[in-house]
């Protein structure tokens, strides 16, 4: 009753002071606090009127565990740049990926040197964004802009792709979690872009087989088409290769419904743009014609790139079912069949190749491991899919290794110079100088003997 009266009396707001214990300090935990009489009424909070915003949220939200959202925001908000002002000036001096290791005769040098901090060129960065090459949990060496550490393995892959004796080299990048597989793929893509190559990137390949896209049976090919996926692939292809595709003239007349394309008036880019006039059921024939046109041209090399490739071949069956409720195999889906044929060599382009990268979020199936030669044949393995093995047997594996102690040392020194390592981690020697060797040994141990993601975690992620 009293509370109601109080609330009514002072314009709906009653303020009661908390009991003050005399002689007690502000944050003490003595029994005096606990024995103090509790207030009879709770503090009535003023209700915020409708439409008025409540308390302002802090700039850096906590984020969900595992995603390091708070750290990413910290980097985005320039807070880390303020902490280490030399980072911003460093960025201007960093060389672009390709220029960093180009020799006088315009070839990539292949020496065993330490990893080098490089940035993507403006053009390739834009195209990589269109492709969707950057994942959320890539830290880009703490820069707001996309910067990456150019390693020996990337150069090896680039050299293999450009100087390989085989007509169409096929490479799959493997390695443990956080080792830099997606980063290496993005670097290779950037290098290929600088070489005027058309990148045919399949985005989010897990969604191709997990039942996300609409599907229908194509009676002529006896394969299942996914029109929504074709449209998505075309959007990425057209945005990331606009200039190159625009310079390729069509070699034939094409008609889809009321939409007509002629060699005089249209380029391959117009076909890939997939105008609204083209009916949905003809998307697959447009796709086949685009592939034919790419095969006919000899101007540019064409590369297939897939990230998280192991998620595609994790199981031999997809989530789709036919009308008799039988599982549809992944090689019955036209887009997957197209990619597998390219990997096998059944579909060939005048110049080009295949670069795949695995993901540690999905397991490498026994079929994949046996097909690429990572494991011997297990005759008792019932999950082995022999048809899938035939597609993957020519693929070469490039395993990314951990960073060496020297490389971790270089990175630690770089972090130390920029003031990014928290002071409590730094121990001083007897001379009053920073004991770098001890710090390097500690970071090498904490980064599980040279894992780049674990290294960044131990230096920065745990503290911001």
């Amino acid at each position: 009753m009293l509370r109601h009266a109080l609330l009514r009396s002072s314009q709906g707001v009653a303020r009661l002071q908390a009991p003050v214990v005399s002689g007690a300090s502000l944050f003490h935990t003595s029994s005096a606090t606990y024995s103090a009489p509790m207030p009879k009424f709770g503090l009535a909070r003023r209700k915020t009127p409708k439409g008025q915003k409540g308390q302002k949220k802090s700039k850096v939200s906590k984020g969900t565990p595992g995603n390091n959202d708070s750290f990413m925001e910290y980097v985005r908000d320039k807070s880390i740049s303020l902490k280490a002002p030399s980072l911003a000036s460093d960025l201007e001096n960093i060389e672009e990926i390709v220029q960093a290791r180009l020799t006088a005769d315009n070839k990539l040098e292949n020496k065993d040197t330490l990893p080098q901090l490089t940035k993507y060129s403006d053009d390739s960065l834009k195209r990589l964004h269109h492709i969707g090459a950057f994942q959320k949990a890539q830290y880009h060496e703490l820069f707001r802009e996309k910067v990456s550490l150019l390693r020996q393995e990337t150069l090896k892959i680039c050299n293999k792709l450009t100087e390989s004796a085989s007509k169409s080299p096929k490479i799959v990048i493997t390695g443990e979690s956080g080792i830099g597989k997606s980063t290496a793929l993005a670097q290779v893509q950037s290098y290929l872009m600088s070489k005027d190559s058309i990148i045919f990137h399949l985005p989010n390949v897990k969604t191709i087989v997990d039942g996300t896209y609409e599907f229908n049976l194509n009676s002529s090919t006896n394969l299942y088409d996914q029109p929504g996926l074709i449209k998505k692939v075309f959007i990425k292809l057209s945005k990331s290769n606009k200039e190159l595709l625009s310079s390729i003239k069509l070699s034939d007349n094409y008609t889809y419904g009321t939409a007509r394309f002629s060699p005089e008036n249209h380029s391959l880019h117009d076909l890939v743009m997939l105008p609204a006039k083209v009916p949905k059921n003809l998307y697959s024939s447009v796709f086949n014609d685009v592939v034919k046109e790419l095969q006919k041209q000899d101007k540019y090399s064409v590369y297939l790139t897939i990230d998280e490739f192991n998620s595609l071949v994790e199981h031999s069956g997809s989530a789709y079912r036919d009308i008799d409720y039988n599982v549809i195999g992944i090689d019955k889906l036209s887009m997957v069949k197209f990619a597998l044929d390219w990997i096998k060599g059944a579909i060939a382009f005048p110049r080009g190749g295949v670069v795949l990268a695995n993901s540690s979020n999905y397991q490498e199936s026994s079929t994949f491991k046996f097909a690429v030669g990572m494991e011997p044949l297990n005759p008792f393995d019932e999950t082995l899919d022999k048809s899938l093995v035939s597609y993957l047997k020519d693929v070469e594996v490039v395993k990314l290794e951990k960073l060496s102690r020297e490389e971790i040392g270089e990175l630690t020194q770089w972090q130390l110079n920029n003031g990014l390592i928290i002071s409590q981690d730094i121990s001083m020697s007897e001379d009053g100088e920073v004991d770098v060797q001890k710090l390097v040994n500690e970071k090498y141990f904490l980064s599980s003997n040279g894992n780049p993601r674990e290294f960044i975690k131990s230096c920065n992620l745990l503290y911001y």
């Binding site: 896209y213 609409e214 229908n216 989530a319 079912r321 036919d322 008799d324 409720y325």
Partner: protein
Amino acid sequence: MAINILGKYIRAKYLVSEGLFKTFYGIGPQEASKICARVGLFPKMRMHQLSEQQIMSITKELAGLTIENEARNVVRENIAFKRKIGSYSGIRHLLGFPVHGQNTRNNGRTAKKLNKLNRSG
């Protein structure tokens, strides 16, 4: 927004298979995905993505199945048959007690609620 199938409103954001088995008595998750496969819907299709023609096809499929009151009647007939032949489970149904040997000293609330000769659900 809701989609009307056979006089029942299903949330538009539901997956088609999810919406079917959550709405209709007598359809489980597997039967629902079988219906989707027969109609030619992709597994992650949502209710709001259905066209008029696809809703008609689903309705046609549902019309051929034993669902809702028909399915409830089948259960009632089975209970009535057990009571008629005087079996143990028939008697337990009559008394409103658990059928499968559960204790009745403390719990058995679900059985007291549901186990009747004229079972509702």
